[in-house]
């Protein structure tokens, strides 16, 4: 009965996700080897976040899970972001 509901991700799609992740990895290496000053950090972190999003959504099956799980993940991301912002308000303006 549960097999009816369960979504099976095809091997091909898993492989395509891997290719996307590898491309983004090599892109990060290429970007950070060029001198972009402070943009280096932003670009690397932006691509890393994108990769994490892809892993969460496809490999960790969030795409096919109940909506409550997705909401929980978003909450954790928001809590963590708030933590970063609060910490840096302290260090940047003390």
């Amino acid at each position: 009965m549960s097999e009816e509901k369960e979504h099976i991700v095809s091997y091909k799609n898993n492989f395509l996700v891997l290719i996307a992740l590898l491309c983004l990895t090599f892109l990060t290496v290429a970007i950070t080897s060029v001198e972009l000053g402070p943009w280096n950090v932003s670009a690397a972190m932006l691509i890393a976040s994108l990769k994490v999003g892809i892993v969460l959504y496809y490999f960790m099956h969030l795409k096919f899970e109940h909506v409550i799980l997705r909401i929980m993940v978003i909450m954790v991301v928001l809590v963590f972001t708030a933590l970063i912002v609060i910490t840096f308000f302290d260090y940047l303006y003390r």
């Binding site: 549960s2 097999e3 369960e6 099976i8 991700v9 095809s10 091997y11 898993n14 492989f15 996700v17 891997l18 992740l21 590898l22 990895t25 990060t28 290496v29 950070t32 280096n40 950090v41 690397a44 972190m45 691509i47 890393a48 990769k51 994490v52 892993v55 969460l56 496809y58 490999f59 960790m60 099956h61 899970e65 109940h66 799980l69 929980m72 993940v73 954790v76 809590v79 963590f80 933590l83 970063i84 910490t87 840096f88 260090y91």
Partner: protein, 205 residues
């Protein structure tokens, strides 16, 4: 037939198991998240030292390990598809490949750390003491965070090895595979952490 009969009598709640696994993953994310914040703050306070210390790290070995982890994440994701389709042999092969890749990751880490130790770069070393606060903090965080991550790799390998054995004796099968899914989630978490560790320590300068 008997198998399915006993299974339906058993109390099982796969959704709750997965929810529990996700809650555990959240605690892990915040554990490493806290460390990332510590790293960012010290990077902000000691930009020059972090910039110079960063160049001591071997980009190539970091990149190889990133590729290894990404591939192993795919093989775990595929093993979940395989068990759902009832392909026992394929599931075992894919989990075996994952374990092998994890082992290669650790061997690389061994050589990487070994080279650092050889150059006198380890927590509490005299050379780091002479280099000053920034370098001490960079390498302290480097060893602690990649070490904690390696510990997670070892835990993940143990978990996946147990899952592999259970698939072998059919305790995990196409009708009951939540343990494989949860083991897979843990393995993806290990991958997620590395996705941030790699640019932060090896690439950004």
């Amino acid at each position: 037939m008997e198998q399915t009969a006993t299974h339906s009598l058993e109390h099982r709640d796969d959704t709750a198991s997965k929810l529990g696994m996700w809650l555990f993953i959240f605690t892990e994310i915040l554990l490493f998240g806290g460390l990332f914040i510590v790293y960012s703050v010290y990077r902000y306070k000691y930009p020059v030292a972090f910039h110079l210390a960063n160049q001591e790290l071997d980009k190539t070995i970091g990149l190889i390990n990133t590729v290894i982890l990404l591939i192993s994440s795919m093989t775990v994701a595929m093993s979940v598809s395989a068990i759902k389709e009832g392909k026992k042999k394929l599931t075992i092969t894919l989990l075996g490949i994952t374990l092998l890749l994890a082992l290669i990751f650790l061997v690389n880490k061994y050589f990487e750390w070994g080279a650092k130790f050889h150059h006198g770069l380890y927590p509490g070393s005299g050379i780091l003491h002479d280099l000053g606060h920034g370098d001490t903090l960079f390498f302290g965080l480097y060893f602690f965070m990649t070490g904690l991550h390696a510990l997670h790799i070892i835990i993940g390998m143990t978990l996946l090895a147990v899952v592999l054995l259970k698939v072998k004796n059919e305790r995990i099968n196409s009708g009951d595979y939540v343990l494989l899914e949860n083991g897979g989630l843990y393995w993806h978490l290990v991958d997620l952490i590395w996705i941030f560790l790699f640019p932060l320590f090896y690439l950004i300068h």
